[in-house]
């Protein structure tokens, strides 16, 4: 189910994504000042970060390790590589060049499979350094336009980045979102990055073009400043429609870098490619080539943890749910799948465990899996109802664990027996014959009204499942 309407006519969307990810190292890519978000401005600075005369870069081994992990997780070839200087002037770029990888990146030719089965090619995942941060003063809303001056904080300058460049294999806004979500899950799983779009540790640029099947690819525009997963879909949809309108109006799409404005939901021209800078790339003479040994690469690959796709499959298997079901996706996203499996291992019911965890634990569970396991068993055995189980679970969460049976007993919870259920159902049908008639003629919603009456009368002690089973039995007897 798409959140987006798709493109009009037979227009096809072609999207490639460039994702910048800040690596979770202790220090910067080429110097020993801290890589830490949120510190006082210009406190994480050293001669290299400031681009002081005479300062020299030295490559961070852990940054390489994490970049290799990303390459391995994205099925890339990890290869010998070099660093180049990309020369351009910008106040938050202290040396007036960015050290990046150019024609020989660390990771090439990989892929990422989306949960819906679409495979997106990864062209490259290269290492580079981040720039500092500019704050624009005097303009409206902190924007560069209309500002009277700007302030530069270099704490972020030199933070290690990996830029992951996809092939233009993405053909819907939904797939773009799914790609970013899946990538984020992988990055977190392998401890390469905290991948927080809201803190800028994961930043997405989208190359968008449109064409009709069987015709050459259209001119692409690069969309920058997309700061949330939600905006990715919106920005791509907007941009695709803008391009289609241009073409259908007899105009042409010009290659541009465009800026996504979250406020007005549009993309705006940032600059045209015609006047893009001539970056004068050349090999960084202050660094030497990097050639990870076969042993190092093998070690990184062997140490990779299970990735989200495999974890979803494993959880789906254990719980009987679909691998792309909401519950499985959410629980794996949150990294709670091991906990659900622990509930099952402690003798609990995996399917109920999945539901409990999805509903009750926003972050990492603080309740012993065995305690939850007991509760799932109480529910599936019919000792208490689902509604009662929810109350007990809430108390377990609040107390950080405990004896589910004792809590249930303290609440006076016991599931009423079958004959009592039948009596309540009789009563409900008598109270609302209209609903019963509708239910019999196939109106599923009417069942809810009847179940509600039973629950009300039984003060929630009736097991919802038993009630609906009874109603269905009666209808088939009746019919």
């Amino acid at each position: 189910m798409s959140q987006y309407d798709g493109l009009p006519g037979d227009w096809q969307l072609v999207v490639g994504l460039e994702v910048h990810v800040e690596l979770a190292t202790a220090t910067k890519l080429f110097s020993a000042s801290p890589n830490r978000f949120g510190d006082e401005p210009n406190t994480n600075i050293d001669p290299v970060t400031l681009g002081l005369p005479g300062a020299l870069p030295v490559l961070n081994e852990q940054a390489v390790e994490l970049a290799m992990r990303i390459g391995a997780a994205l099925n890339c070839t990890i290869q010998a590589c070099t660093f180049h200087r990309k020369n351009y002037f910008y106040p938050d770029m202290p040396k007036a060049y960015q050290i990046s990888q150019y024609d020989q990146p660390l990771n090439v030719d990989g892929y990422l499979d989306l949960p819906n089965g679409v495979r997106v090619g990864i062209e490259r995942a290269h290492m580079e350094e981040d720039a500092g941060k500019s704050t624009h003063v005097g303009g409206s809303g902190g924007r560069v336009h209309g500002a009277t001056y700007s302030l530069i904080d270099l704490n972020r300058a030199g933070v290690p980045l990996v830029e992951i460049v996809s092939r233009p294999d993405i053909h819907s806004a939904d797939d773009a979102r799914a790609y970013v979500n899946e990538l984020r899950g992988i990055l977190v799983a392998i401890d390469a990055s905290d991948a927080k779009m809201e803190e800028g540790s994961m930043r997405v640029d989208a190359n968008v073009s449109v064409h009709k099947p069987g015709t050459p690819l259209g001119t692409r525009c690069e969309i920058k400043n997309v700061n949330s997963v939600r905006s990715i879909g919106r920005a791509i949809e907007y941009e695709a429609r803008r391009q289609i309108d241009l073409i259908e109006g007899g105009d042409v799409v010009r290659q541009q870098t465009r800026h996504w404005d979250e406020g007005d939901g549009r993309t705006h021209t940032l600059r045209s490619k015609e006047d893009a800078d001539d970056y004068r790339y050349f090999l960084e003479p202050d660094l030497v080539p990097l050639a990870p040994s076969a042993e190092w690469i093998a070690k990184v690959k062997a140490a990779l943890p299970m990735l989200p796709a495999a974890r979803r499959a494993r959880l789906a298997d254990a719980t009987g749910q679909a691998a792309n079901s909401e519950a499985v996706t959410i629980v794996v996203d949150r990294g709670q799948d091991d906990y659900v499996l622990a509930i099952a291992a402690a003798g609990g019911d995996a399917a109920r465990g999945l539901v409990y965890v999805k509903e009750a634990f926003a972050d990492s569970p603080k309740v012993a899996a065995a305690d939850v396991a007991v509760l799932t068993q109480m529910e599936v055995s019919g000792a208490i109802t689902a509604t009662q189980a929810k109350t007990v679970l809430a108390e377990l969460v609040a107390k950080g664990g405990g004896d589910a049976a004792a809590i249930a007993a303290a609440h006076g919870f016991e599931a009423i027996d079958t004959s009592a259920v039948e009596a309540f159902v009789d009563e409900a049908i008598a109270t609302d014959p209209d609903a019963w008639q509708k239910f019999c003629s196939g109106d599923a919603k009417a069942m809810g009204a009847l179940v509600g009456l039973v629950m009300k009368a039984s003060k929630g002690k009736a097991d919802g499942k038993a009630v609906s089973a009874s109603l269905q039995q009666r209808r088939s007897d009746h019919g």
């Binding site: 001669p47 400031l50 681009g51 002081l52 005369p53 005479g54 300062a55 020299l56 870069p57 030295v58 490559l59 200087r85 020369n87 002037f89 106040p91 202290p94 040396k95 007036a96 060049y97 700007s150 530069i152 001539d278 004068r280 790339y281 050349f282 003479p285 202050d286 660094l287 030497v288």
Partner: protein, 490 residues
């Protein structure tokens, strides 16, 4: 103040004397400060003299000796530093207006190594702005004069460092050599100057001109002092990725061995252009070494002649990038303007001198879209040819001998405003920067106008020990020759 000790002639002797208490560091410093007071106004070797700091450092060393501590292998040795080496809290300008007044918040590795070894910094020396030049005429703070003839240049770009040693302002000094900037001024000022193998000495804190070519090295009065200096400052620095990760053998020990049996290469296809007086001294050098038991062999280095072109494409290209950081944002000068781009353009136009601008333009052009392959890319290939040719030559010869400079010290303004005329000063020194191999200039008598002539000894990668053996033999011969000329009285 104590009575000045007897003047010591070498850094090695000074350090030995200060360490055993027979010399006082304070006296050594006063001798040099006195020389500075007398002749510095005329010579202008320094951008900054650090008299107070030097006296304080000397007092501390003398105290340490008195307390029975060892103040290090360079105890009491006065040093002058080219003003492109970062000194914490002490202005470091590269002789450029764009950095005027800037005080680095950190020390170059070489600087801290020298201080830790007991050396005493007496000042920061003048240079061609950002080390771009061969005469020290390109300094924003005025030229340095050659102590042998003040109407002449000291060479460059490390002209201030060469002049400092030649004038007795400091016992030794340090410069940087990107295309000959230590060896050529050493030759013109009549002192020893060494450019070691690329990576032999840390570049951390050396303000970059061309990163793949820059190396720090010493100026000294003797080959032994040069060996001592490299023994102290050479070695691995984890802050410089291009620093060779190994310890180097003692050159002071290595140079004790004579040259008997060594193969001295004469480059038969060496580019022409050296003055007759310089060529003559080179011939004497060959004869001297032959007489000392070495064998003279003919070798060819066909790509030698293309060094100038390769260098003047590669070095400006790297420089154009290295000097982009002088943008008026974080340090140095700024010319205020309406927006950042205008501020960059105005600041850099006002802050850089003509030669620096010219090289930034040339380097930017050589790297720019559409020209990279024709210029920078091609130059890198020529660099390979030169390196390969040298490697082939060193299969037949242990060292090569060439002139250091095509001429003795020239008059101010002699090269006019034709940049190429100046660039030709580096014809013989540039190729070994491109190959990354060591080279040194040894004073070897005099040429026209009685001015010093240097002979350049070149050697293969990390072959400094052999290079120093040959240099020591040349030095011995030159000393003997001078003695004879002076009627046997030294």
């Amino acid at each position: 103040m104590s009575t000045p000790s007897a003047p010591a002639t070498t850094a090695a002797a000074i350090a030995a004397g200060v360490r055993d208490g027979s010399l006082k560091a304070a006296d050594i410093v006063e001798q040099h400060l006195a020389a500075i007071a007398t002749r510095e106004p005329e010579i202008h070797a320094f951008n900054l003299v650090l008299a107070d700091e030097a006296r304080a450092a000397a007092a501390q060393i003398d105290q340490r000796v008195a307390a029975g501590e060892d103040p290090g292998p360079l105890a009491g040795v006065t040093v002058a530093l080219k003003d492109n080496m970062c000194t914490r809290g002490i202005p470091t300008t590269c002789s450029s207006k764009i950095l005027e007044g800037w005080r680095p918040p950190y020390d170059a590795t070489v600087v801290s190594t020298l201080r830790d070894a007991g050396a005493i910094v007496v000042g920061k020396t003048n240079l061609d702005e950002f080390a771009m030049g061969s005469s020290t005429e390109n300094s924003a703070f005025g030229p340095t004069r050659n102590p042998h003839d003040t109407s002449r240049v000291p060479g460059g770009s490390s002209g201030g460092s060469a002049a400092s040693v030649a004038a007795g302002f400091s016992q030794v000094s340090f410069g940087s050599d990107t295309g000959g900037s230590i060896r050529q001024p050493a030759a013109l000022c009549g002192v020893v100057g060494v450019k070691p193998t690329y990576g032999y000495v840390s570049r951390y804190g050396l303000i970059a001109f061309a990163s793949s070519l820059d190396q720090i090295g010493p100026f000294t009065n003797s080959v032994e002092d040069a060996a001592l200096m490299l023994d102290v400052i050479g070695g691995h620095d984890p802050l410089d990725s291009t620093s060779i990760p190994q310890a180097h053998p003692s050159l002071r020990d290595a140079m004790q061995q004579d040259v008997a049996g060594l193969r001295i290469g004469r480059i038969t296809d060496l580019p022409e252009g050296a003055d007759p007086d310089v060529v003559e001294r080179l011939e004497v050098a060959f004869d001297t070494l032959r007489a000392a038991g070495a064998k003279i062999v003919d070798v060819q280095v066909p790509a030698f002649t293309f060094g100038l072109t390769a260098y003047y494409l590669i070095a400006p290209a790297e420089a154009s990038s290295n000097l982009a950081r002088y943008d008026g944002v974080r340090y140095g000068m700024r010319v205020e303007a309406a927006d950042t781009n205008a501020m960059y353009g105005a600041t850099r136009a006002a802050g850089f001198g003509d030669e620096v601008k010219r090289r930034i333009m040339l380097g930017t052009y050589a790297l720019s879209a559409g020209y990279y392959d024709a210029y920078y890319g091609k130059a890198l290939k020529v660099r390979r040819l030169i390196s390969d040719d040298f490697d082939r030559a060193y299969q037949h010869a242990d060292v090569l001998l060439t002139p250091t400079s095509p001429s003795v010290a020239f008059q101010f303004g002699a090269k006019g405003d034709n940049p190429l005329a100046m660039y030709l000063c580096d014809t013989y020194t540039i190729p070994s920067n491109l190959s990354g191999q060591p080279g040194m200039s040894v004073p070897f008598g005099t040429g026209a106008h009685g001015l010093p002539v240097g002979v350049q000894v070149l050697a293969g990668t990390l072959q400094e020990p052999t290079m120093f053996r040959v240099a020591a033999a040349l030095e011995a011969a030159a000393t003997k020759e001078r003695g004879l000329q002076n009627g046997g009285v030294r």
